[in-house]
């Protein structure tokens, strides 16, 4: 009689494919996953507590450190939340520039997603190609804000500086080359039978479960639910742009992977339109130097970040510092679904599942 037993292995926090300090305690039956437990907090920096001791303006640079892969998105969400709290209207030009920057961030984040998914399932070269192309976006960020990865470019009431002259040709040539880049990814990765075999029918997340687990963003849309906050509840000036919300059918890893590639195309569409309509004018609204929202005011503002619904809940007590600031981090809540989609799969699927959920641990742990 052969006795068999489960093996418990710790995928992370030090593991090549956990995207940072993610710790998935995995119970294995051979290669099959019996259970997964997610442990978080390895990069917890208590951002919410820090916010309580910083003024509204001072907290801006901390936001980019939440989701450092899409640097402008959290900063934009936060600034818009504070603007909502104050009742400030942002000048047209600033809104357009914000949208351009946000969508560039989304493209950068999704490119990194494709690359890291590729390396997680063993195709090392895919990562390098994606990084090569993402580098051009990073260059544009450096042009505009002076920082590549964690730019602090958004300000309450607008943006820090106007776009430099060299930005326009750079973004134009990037958008012109984007179809070729995507072609390359598609030929190298998307069309690859091994990759398809690994992603199709693994990590299936049905639509009802996705909603119940609070999954948002591309992961939710991969399950077939056309819910994009840019469309459902247009913030900023998103209602002016014509773009589609791609949706998947099954909610497996393959759908989640395709979502990202198609969203890059949609973001490019938005940037093209925004560049065309970009008006001249002010880039920052008149905002007092010391920002004091009225006492007891509170706001929950959410934007569609590259990872999902990024929400900022801010309570003001009338002082220059937020009384309470809560970040609804999409990565954090998306990770809650990891055990559900991994159970019953293979160990190799777990790696693909983590990659396609696309968590950023800076955001999940805050």
């Amino acid at each position: 009689m052969i006795e068999s037993d489960f093996i418990t292995i710790n995928v992370g926090p030090q593991h090549p494919s956990t995207h940072g300090g993610l710790h998935a305690e995995t119970v294995l039956d051979g290669e099959h996953i019996v259970d997964v437990k997610v442990h978080l907090g390895y990069v917890h920096r208590s951002v919410e507590k820090i916010a309580e001791s910083r003024t509204y303006t001072q907290f801006i640079p901390y936001n980019s450190r939440l989701d450092y892969l899409a640097t402008h998105l959290p900063a934009m969400g936060y600034c818009q939340a504070v603007e909502k709290l104050l009742g400030v209207t942002v000048p047209e030009r600033a809104e357009y520039i914000r949208v351009i920057m946000a969508e560039l961030s989304r493209i950068a984040s999704h490119m990194l997603f494709i690359g890291s998914l590729a390396i997680d399932i063993g195709a090392t070269t895919g990562l390098i190609y994606c990084f090569r192309d993402r580098e051009r976006i990073m260059d544009m960020f450096e042009m505009t804000s002076g920082q590549r990865l964690i730019a602090s470019y958004m300000r309450i009431g607008g943006i820090a500086e106007d776009l430099p002259e060299e930005f326009y040709p750079a973004v134009k040539s990037f958008l012109d080359d984007l179809p070729y880049m995507l072609d390359e990814y598609n030929n190298l990765l998307t069309g690859n039978e091994i990759l398809q075999a690994r992603l199709k029918n693994t990590g299936i997340l049905p639509a009802d479960k996705a909603i119940a687990y609070g999954v948002s963003g591309p992961n939710l849309r991969a399950s077939g639910i056309a819910y994009d906050i840019r469309k459902a509840e247009p913030y900023s000036i998103y209602e002016r742009f014509d773009f589609d919300v791609p949706i998947g059918s099954k909610g497996d890893n393959w759908d989640r992977f395709l979502m990202r590639i198609r969203e890059i195309e949609e973001s490019a569409k938005i940037i093209r339109q925004a560049l065309q309509d970009l008006p001249e004018g002010e880039i920052r609204a008149k905002v007092p130097r010391i920002i004091k929202p009225e006492k007891g005011a509170e706001v929950y503002h959410r934007i569609e970040s590259s990872k999902g619904e990024l929400g900022f809940y801010i309570v003001s007590d009338g002082s220059e510092k937020p009384y309470r600031l809560h970040v609804r981090a999409p990565s954090f809540i998306n990770l809650g679904v990891l055990p559900l989609i991994s159970r019953g799969g293979k160990l190799q699927d777990l790696i693909a599942n983590i990659a396609t959920l696309d968590p950023v641990l800076g955001e999940a742990d805050r």
């Binding site: 909603i211 609070g214 056309a226 459902a232 619904e309 929400g311 954090f332 809540i333 990770l335």
Partner: protein
Amino acid sequence: MYQELKERLLKNWDGKIEINEGKDFFEIITQSEILFTLMEFLKKEFGFNYLANLCGVDYGEKFTMVYHVCRIPENLKVCVKADIPRDNPEIDSLTCLWPAADFQEREVYDLMGIVFKGHPDLKRILLPEDFEGHPLRKDYKAV
């Protein structure tokens, strides 16, 4: 829709809840005792299937739990608030209604020290297990 919701809510819990129709969120201020039944009502009767956000706020003498609940893909949204006394910070867990509450309630328990009754695995999530105190409380002194 919101009108119907308002009527039904007032019919069921008249006097126990307060309704504010803000420009952003349809706000329901309730009590921690009836929170669970109210939420169940919202989910079952009105199809609010998506718990977007939940967090606690420390107001000194009391805590307030704030829930943002949506119905997607139609994007109907409701904000529910419930006060909890500071000396006995307990409230019903919503994990059985929305599994999304699992991680978020653990986070609130971890950082704010609010106990969720009926949560399957109420442990610290962001801070180490042996951490003392709840940092997001206003009386927490960082060393």
